[in-house]
Structure formats: structure tokens, C-alpha cells
Amino acid sequence: MTKARHYLSIVLLHLRKELHLEWRSRDAITGMLFFTLLIAVVFSLAFDPTSNPTLARQISGGIAWIGLLFAATTSLNGSWAREQRNQVLDAHRLSPAPPSALFVGKALANFLFVTLVEVVLVPVFVLFYNIRPLGQASLLWLILPLGTWALVLNGTFFSALSLRSRNRDLLLPLILFPISIPALLAVVNGTTSVITGEFDPNLWIRLLAGFDIIFTVVALLLFGTVLHAE
């Protein structure tokens, strides 16, 4: 019991520190937000959603998530670069605190950042693409967090994995995208089904939940190995 409490307190400690550092610079959130906005604008220029409302409905979910995925990849590397500057990572490796707590704290922080970006983004997409969801909009409360966690979980893990390699900015998308494709497929289809109302999103929600659970467990089990791989 005290062990679980201690673990939780360490996770919160890391989370607080991440939020604190992000609050000082606000690099990640501003970067991600602007990046995704740009993607939305560029795609609406390419597809002209006003004259193709059906098409806009079908592709806006995909565009939003792909934009988020790209934006997250660019900022996730930064979240570990922070630990590498001044070799703070060594201090973490030397501390007796459980290594996976560091991972969970960071993943939770990134989850909050991406969620914040989404909160700003949803009205923007509604505006730009003239979207009125035809499906059950309340399901988005399930799809968005599940999808965000899938994205952030693997992103945080693999950016830690590629920390010590050459070309790490290139490597992260190369290993993150193939692994995350089932989650991306599920979240895009789930979102699209809510917007178009054409099919049932339940299957996709279940897939997302399964993906989240499986990969959270694997990441927790293996993070210590990654942190101490030297």
C-alpha cells in the first residue's frame, strides 16, 4: 500500500515538474498547436471543404489526427531532450525512484499538452470544414482521450528509445508510425464515424481501448530496460 502510494507520489512529482517546465517555456504546446492549425489550413486549401461537404466530413477526422501525430512527433523529442541537457537523465538513472514512474509522469504530461491542443483544435475544424457531427457526438469524449493516450504513450516511449541513436529526429517517426498504425486507424475511423454517422464506432473504440491497455503494460514493463540501456 505504501509502495503504491509512493509510486503515485513520484509520478505526480514528475508530472508537476513537466508542467512546471512547460509552463516556463510553452514551447511544446505552441509548436504543436500552430503546426496542426497549419495542416488544417493547407488541407482545406487542397480539398476545398465548402464545395465538397461530404468529402470534408469524410476526411476531416483523418486530417486532424494526422496533423496531431506529426505535431506530436516534433515535440515529443523535445520532451526528452530536456532531460539530456545538462545530463539530468543521469540523475534519474542514479535515483532509487522507480524508472517507469518517470515515463508515466512524462506520458501524462504529454497527454495533457496534446489534449489542450485538441480542445483548441476542435472548434477550428468545425469552423474550417463546416462540420456538424451526424453520429453520436458524445462518443468523442471516449474516442479523443483513448486516441490521444495511444499516440502519446508510444510517442513518449519511442522518443526515449531513440534518445541515444544518431539521427534521432528522423528515427522517431520511422519507428513510431508503423507501430501506431492500428491505433491511428481506429481513432481516425472512430472520429469519422461520429462525424459522418455512417457506421458504428464501437468496434474502433474497443480496438483503441485494447491497444491502450496492451501497450501501456508493455511500455511499463520495458521502460526500465530502455532507461538503463548503456
Binding site: T2, H6, H20, R24, R82, D90, S95
Partner: protein, 239 residues
């Protein structure tokens, strides 16, 4: 009981046997064998690239050697993690936070389950010990090099370690600052141990590397010289 104490006194703080470390086609350490007695200050000397920092990092458990065995405080570096502290030439601090914020964070990280109450007081104490004001509100990035070095040392002292591994603690410091720090380290050696001392005779040990060895020459108990990844000379100074 007596026998146990005698044994404990004979055990070295760190034993390195036949340790090698390879990076690709470069050997940072070649079959290094040396030991550091428990208690006192031990100096590692050598040119740049001789392997001093690498040896310290191996003792800290940050690098697993390619071959050979390392025993620290009668265990593997990973097992003794909570009783060792390591200070590198990088500050190991978050630039965006103040000294106190950094230290509080690391103090809580170092807490064992259920003992957190003990740690909360120490950040101020260790900052004061290194001669810094704990009410400073500037982020660490705006400190001078020397000040950052002190905060870095304060971070090391936080966990009340038995074995201190210090990599160039006096670099970027002026003469008086460095001399103060040497005096502080000598003082630290006399501090009573409150944690991890199971035998009752455990003493603190400091292993450090420095270029300004004339600064510490009066204070050290032994000197080990590394040359191109091997031990060139080992001598202990009779007290």
C-alpha cells in the same frame, strides 16, 4: 562483533577488477584494477581522455563495463544506488527551475517509500552548506558557472551519500571558491552518517577527479593516476 568491525574496516569503498570499456574501436579503459579504501578523499588523476570520467561513471553504475567486475560498498553499483552520489561536469539540473525547486525535486526522487518526511528539510540545509542563499528566485540558467557548480554539489549532498563521486568539482571556480569547496568536502567527510550505515563503522568516502590537484594535495588520502585507459600509478598518503 569485534571481528565484524575489523572486517568492515578492511573492506574497500570501491573495488575495480580488470575493468575494460570499449566504444567501437576505442578502448576507454584497459583492464583497470584499483581500489579505494573506505573513508577519506581519493584523487583520480590523468590527462584528458585518460578514462577518469569513464571510471567514475562505471563506479556510479551509469555505464556497464565491457568486461571485469566492479564492487561498490560491497555490492554492485546498481544495488547501492541509494548510497552513492555522482556529480558530473554537467550540472545535472533543470536550467528553467530555481536551485530550491531543483533540489526539492531531487530530494523527493531520492526518498525511499515512507521516509519522505525526513527529506523535506534537507534542500535548504545542503544549499546553506555549499554557501548559497536558498531564497534565490532566479532560474539556474542565470547563475554563474561557479554557483551552478555549488548547486550541483548541493544536489549530491541531498541524499546523505556514503560514497561521493565527483567529476571535476572545481572547474569554473576561482581560487577562493575552490578552496572553500575543498574545506567543505573535508567537512563533509566528518559528518555523521544517518543512512545505510549497517555496520556502525561506515565512513564517508569521496572519489574525485580534478585538474587543479594542487588544491587538494594536502587533503587527499590516496592518488591514482590513469594514463590512456590504464592505471599508471597508485599511492596512498600516510596520515
Amino acid at each position: 562483533m569485534l571481528a565484524a568491525m575489523v572486517n568492515a574496516a578492511e573492506v574497500n569503498a570501491a573495488d575495480v577488477q580488470n575493468v575494460s570499456l570499449l566504444y567501437g574501436n576505442f578502448a576507454a579503459l584497459r583492464r583497470v584494477t584499483c581500489s579505494f579504501a573506505t573513508g577519506g578523499m581519493h584523487l583520480l588523476l590523468g590527462e584528458n581522455g585518460a578514462g577518469k570520467s569513464t571510471l567514475l561513471r562505471i563506479l556510479a553504475g551509469l555505464i556497464t563495463p565491457s568486461g571485469g567486475t566492479v564492487r561498490v560498498l560491497e555490492g554492485s553499483p546498481a544495488e547501492r544506488r541509494s548510497r552513492i552520489a555522482y556529480m558530473s561536469h554537467a550540472s545535472m539540473l533543470y536550467d528553467e527551475m530555481t536551485a530550491m525547486e531543483n533540489l526539492r525535486y531531487f530530494a523527493q526522487l531520492g526518498c525511499a517509500p515512507g521516509t519522505c518526511a525526513l527529506c523535506h528539510a534537507s534542500p535548504e540545509m545542503s544549499l546553506r552548506a555549499v554557501g548559497l542563499d536558498h531564497t534565490l528566485t532566479r532560474p539556474v540558467s542565470q547563475y554563474s558557472q561557479g554557483m551552478r557548480q555549488r548547486v550541483s554539489l548541493a544536489r549530491v549532498l541531498l541524499t546523505d551519500p556514503e560514497l561521493l563521486l565527483l567529476d571535476e568539482p572545481f572547474s569554473n571556480m576561482d581560487g577562493t571558491g575552490a578552496r572553500d569547496l575543498v574545506a567543505l568536502l573535508q567537512d563533509v567527510l566528518t559528518w555523521p552518517l544517518t543512512t545505510g550505515a549497517s555496520t556502525g563503522v561506515a565512513k564517508r568516502t569521496i572519489i574525485l577527479t580534478t585538474h587543479q590537484h594542487d588544491l587538494v594535495s594536502g587533503a587527499v588520502d590516496s592518488t591514482t593516476r590513469l594514463e590512456r585507459g590504464t592505471i599508471a600509478a597508485e599511492q596512498s598518503v600516510a596520515a
